[in-house]
Every structure is written in structure tokens, then in C-alpha cells.
């Protein structure tokens, strides 16, 4: 059993506070992804769990043990580093078996454990090479192999795919997911790429400036962002955000565009309140090129300024009140810049945020 618990954990670097009292419960065998913009404290948090960084305040427990004062070797964790951190003077096989050798495991057992890991990750043929003779993807796999040979209770990944090209990244993502099924350990995975977070995580922890902003399943974060930051960080393309003012049961977006307040926010806003109005490109579609016509729909005529065909869909760019918004066209036909189309906005899928705090207003 290796659940990981963070209880109001702080990290100070001198006077600078990098992590502000974060609390988090991670269940045994859960795949949790820490995601957030650069410098938000993801690595710092992970390194405190690993024991590579002192904990300035609060407690971290792995299993039932408080590990604050334990060195990394007593925490039963493995870590995969962003730039792999392989031992350059050891062969792939020695890299894989190093932790077992340190643990004084008999040679025969080390050999079989190394072989097993090499097999899982397809490293059999490379076993006698030095890291300098490997490609980036191969090094990446050695780093993962080194982590799995020990069957630790918790795996820590710090942006393990950020040095790989896009195609390899997609491929390794699948492998990591498979690996999680196979090893059945707790995984804490750091990335700044929301696509990686969405595809890998059981639960996502979204951080900003050393605080946790939202914790939830990928779909919870996607469908019910707690604020504008989450809404624009999760999902691609990012959510469109417009300024608006409540007028009766409508939201005035521009002088000549007013839209009905989405049903789940009705009664929570007052007349004259300034708000931010958010919707995803998927929910603004040209008539006849959307998913369905169910639910409440607002119709808006917009002039398309740019079309980006992606094959199965086309991204359309237009302006509402001087703010650029993106729309999606399914079953696309070719669209010329300057063409005016009639768009349908699915009101049930729209979000309203407080203009000052950015917090979501939702029933």
C-alpha cells in the first residue's frame, strides 16, 4: 500500500516561497499528474516527495510513514528525470541493475530482473551500450527501466517526455500508460503539457504560483473549471473568454450582441454585474457543421478571418467585439477568409466567471 499524502506542505528557497501549503491525498495505484505553467512549483513538489529537497513546512507521508526526515533511499520510490540522469560510465545493463546492486541483491537475481525490465521496454539489444551511444528515446526508456526494476511503491516522473519529438512523445505516452497497468504502483507525474496530463491522468492536479488551483479527473477539469485560469489552461484550443455585463436575463457581450444566461448560472448573477463569458471552440459551430441541435442555442453571424483545416475538422477564427475567438467546423467544407457564416453557440456548455476574481459562477 502506498498512498501518498501531502499535508499543508511549504517550500521556501531563502525568502522566496515556491510552494504554499499544498495538501493532497493520492490513493494507492493512482496515476496523478501535476500540471501547470513553468515555475509553478511542480518539480519542487515532486522533489520534496522524492526527498531531494528539504520540506520547509507541513508533512509528507508515503504509506503510513511520515517521510519528512527520511533520505530518498528509505522512501521506496523511483524517479525518472527530465534529462534522464543516466550514469554515463555504466552500460545500459549496469544502469538498470545499479539500484539492485546497491541493495546487495545476488548477481543472478539482478540479471533476471534487468532482463525482465529490458524486455518490457524493448532494450534487449542495447544492453551492452553506453548511454552516449543511445538515441533520446532509447535513453528515455533506459531511465524508465531503471525506475521499474526495483518495483518501488511510488514512481515519480519529472517531465520525462519533454526532450522527445512529438511522435515519440505520443508513443511513449501510450507506453507509460501501459506500464502503469503492468506495475500497479502509484505514479506521480509532472508535466507542463496539458495534453499529456489529460491523456495520462486518473486525476490532474493543476498548480499555479505554488498553489493548487484545482484537483479532479481530466473531464472534471475540462467541463467544470473552477476559474478562468483552469478554463484556459486545460483543453486545446484554449477556451474563448469574452468580457460581458449582465442585463436582465441576458449577457451583453457587445453593443449589438446579447446572449441568454446559461441555465446553470441563472439566479447567481445580478443585473449590471461584470462577468467573463467562456465557451470552447467545440461549442461554437457553423450551422449544419456541429454535433447536434439539442439544448439551448444562440445564433450569431460572424465573419471568418482565417480557416485552419485539420482534416476531420477545421478551426475557424473570427472576432466578437474585437476579441478573437475560435470555432470548430465538423464535416468541413472549404471556407474563405471574409466569408460570413451563421454560427450556433451551445449555451448549456458555456461558462460564466466573476470578472474580478475569475472564479466560476455555476449552480
Amino acid at each position: 500500500m502506498a498512498n501518498v499524502t501531502l499535508d499543508t506542505v511549504d517550500k521556501f528557497y531563502g525568502k522566496h516561497q515556491a510552494v504554499h501549503g499544498i495538501s493532497l491525498d493520492i490513493a494507492d495505484q493512482e496515476f496523478v499528474v501535476l500540471v501547470g505553467p513553468s515555475g509553478c512549483g511542480k518539480s519542487t513538489t515532486l522533489r520534496m516527495i522524492a526527498g531531494l529537497e528539504d520540506i520547509s513546512g507541513g508533512t509528507i507521508s508515503i504509506g503510513d510513514r511520515v517521510v519528512n526526515d527520511l533520505p530518498p533511499r528509505e522512501r521506496n520510490i523511483s524517479m525518472v528525470f527530465q534529462n534522464y540522469a543516466l550514469y554515463p560510465h555504466m552500460t545500459v545493463g549496469e544502469n538498470l541493475g545499479f539500484s539492485l546492486k546497491i541493495a546487495k541483491m545476488p548477481d543472478a537475481e539482478i540479471a533476471s530482473a534487468v532482463n525482465e525490465a529490458a524486455q518490457i521496454l524493448g532494450l534487449d539489444e542495447l544492453i551492452d551500450r553506453k548511454p552516449a551511444e543511445l538515441s533520446g528515446g532509447q535513453r528515455q526508456r533506459v531511465a524508465m527501466g531503471r525506475a521499474i526494476v526495483r518495483h518501488p511503491e511510488v514512481f515519480l516522473f519529472d517531465e520525462p517526455l519533454s526532450n522527445l519529438d512529438a511522435k515519440l512523445r505520443t508513443q511513449m505516452r501510450v507506453e507509460i500508460k501501459k506500464l502503469h497497468k503492468k506495475v500497479a504502483s502509484t505514479i506521480i507525474y509532472v508535466t507542463h503539457d496539458q495534453v499529456e496530463a489529460m491523456t495520462l491522468a486518473d486525476r490532474i492536479v493543476l498548480m499555479r504560483d505554488g498553489h493548487i488551483v484545482q484537483v479532479g479527473t481530466p473531464l472534471e477539469l475540462f467541463n467544470k473549471p473552477v476559474d478562468v485560469f483552469v478554463a484556459t489552461f486545460i483543453g486545446s484550443p484554449p477556451m474563448n473568454i469574452l468580457d460581458g455585463v449582465v442585463r436582465g436575463d441576458q449577457i451583453q457581450l457587445t453593443d449589438d450582441l446579447a446572449i441568454k444566461i446559461p441555465s446553470d448560472a441563472r439566479g447567481l448573477v445580478q443585473d449590471g454585474q461584470a462577468i467573463k463569458f467562456g465557451f470552447r471552440a467545440d461549442n461554437l459551430t457553423p450551422k449544419g457543421h456541429g454535433v447536434s441541435d439539442e439544448g439551448e442555442i444562440a445564433t450569431i453571424d460572424l465573419e471568418v478571418s482565417l480557416a485552419e483545416p485539420l482534416g476531420t475538422e477545421t478551426l475557424l477564427f473570427a472576432e466578437i467585439g474585437g476579441v478573437e475567438v475560435q470555432a470548430k467546423m465538423l464535416n468541413p467544407r472549404s471556407v474563405k477568409p471574409g466569408e460570413t457564416l451563421s454560427f450556433q453557440l451551445m449555451l448549456d456548455k458555456c461558462h460564466i466567471f466573476d470578472a474580478d476574481t475569475g472564479a466560476a459562477i455555476r449552480g
Binding site: L52, P72, R73, M79, F81, L86, Y87, P88, I102, E133
Partner: protein, 298 residues
Amino acid sequence: MTRRRLPEWFLLLLPAIIVIAAVVLIPLIFSFYSSFTPYKLTRPSTLWKWVGTYNYEKILSDVKFWAAFGRTILFLTIALNLELMLGLGIALLVNKVTWGQRGIRTMLMFPMMFSPILVGFQFKFIFNDNIGLVNNIIQSVGFADVALPWLVDGKLAMFSILFAEIWMSTSVFAILILAGLFAIPRDPLEAAKVDGCTPWQSFRHITLPFLMPFIFIAMTIRSLDVARAYDIVQIMTGGGPARRTELLWTLMSRTGYVDARMGLANAMGYVSILLSILFTIYFFHKLSAARAELGMTG
């Protein structure tokens, strides 16, 4: 009529060639040639008498030469090893220091700034049996009431010289190893911690292999310039008393300049150069191996 002109590259290289010839090549050839003659500084005409390998045969059957030869190897081995251990220790300590490290690094260089001759005089005074610092301290603390003959007793004199040599040159190791410590990437060390290493195991399996190239660079440099110890030995004991601290260098200079038997001294020189070359090749070889081990090329 066309005059044949020297190729341009040769003309451009000519100044360098002349300088190298004057400074290195001619003395080299001259000394090598004279090692086959009974050349005595006091009788220049002996330079023209060819005696073949007589000098070499004489050296190789000379007990005094072999004694000095063995003592030199012993001296080198002890000095280099102790300097390495001490230098490594100092470098590791300095690397841990977080405050005032620059100052300490500068202070480390101090012994290297002194002329070896000064160092020799300094230690000659420190180890002097009557007025020396060491004996004064020993006697006033009460460890012994007789004056220890630091520079007279064979073993003690050897120790004193080694002490001076190590004092002067340990910082070469310390500084090169410190440079190595600074160059070690942090990641493999952190990976080792997570992989279960104790601090000692991290040092043994990660830090040390990374330091090996630096250690061998220091060894190569030191095995080349350890001949500087001539100054220290010459000043402190002059190879004496009664040849008890005679090293190759003092033996050579005595033969060449005191006995004026330059031909013989040069022959000794060539035999000991061989020693030097062997040490250097050995360490250089180890250096390349250590670099290859870390996946560095070239």
C-alpha cells in the same frame, strides 16, 4: 635564371622552427650525443672522444645510481599518492563549504605561488634540529627532550623532504579535483540517491568515476613536474647526508656540475627521462581510458 623559392608554409613556420631548434632540439641532440662521450666540463676536448655505450653500461652497473633510482620511484609513489589523497580530501571539504568558498580557493593556491627554493629554505629552517620550529614545539610540549635529527637521519630526512614537497604541491591536486567536482552533473548524483545509495556509495560509484579524468590529468602533470623537487631536496639536504636522500636529480647535478662529468650525467638524464616518460604514458593512458569510460571522446 629562376631562383628556387622556399614554399610559403615553410617560410611562415621558419621562425617557430628556428626557436624550437635552438631551445629544444639542439640541446637535446647535444646532450644525447655527449652521453656517448666521456665529456668532462673541465676538459672540453673530451667531447670529441666516442666511447659508445660505456656511460650507460657504467650507470646500469652502478649501485649508487640504482639506489637513487629506487629512492626516486619510492619518493614519486609516496608523494603522488599522498598528494592525491590529501588533495581529494581537501577538494571534497571545500566543495561542501557554502560560505567563503572563493576565499578558500584562493588560499589553496598560496603554496603554488612560492618558489620551490623558498619552500626548501622554509622547511630547512622548520626542521632544523637546533633552532627549528618542529623540535622547539616537540620539546616545549614535552614529547621528547632530545632534539630529533630531522634532516640528518635517513628516514626522517626523507620524511621531511616529502612533507615539504607535499605541502607545496597538494594544492595542484586539490584545485584540479575541485574543478572536477564543479563539473559533475547534479542529475546522476540525485538519481543515485533515489536508487538507494548512501553518501559513501554515491561517492564511490558516481563521483569517483567522474573525477578519474581530473585525477589522471593531475597525475600526468605532477609526474612531469615532480622533477621540481630537485630544488627542495638540494636546499634541504643536498641529497645527503651521505647520500641518504639522494634522488636521481641530485645525483645527476652532482655528477654533472660538481664532478664535472657531463657525459655520464647526461646518460643518467636519459635513463631517468625514460622513467618520466613511462609514468606519463601510463597516466595518460589511464586518462584516456577514464574519459572513454564516461563516454567522452577524443
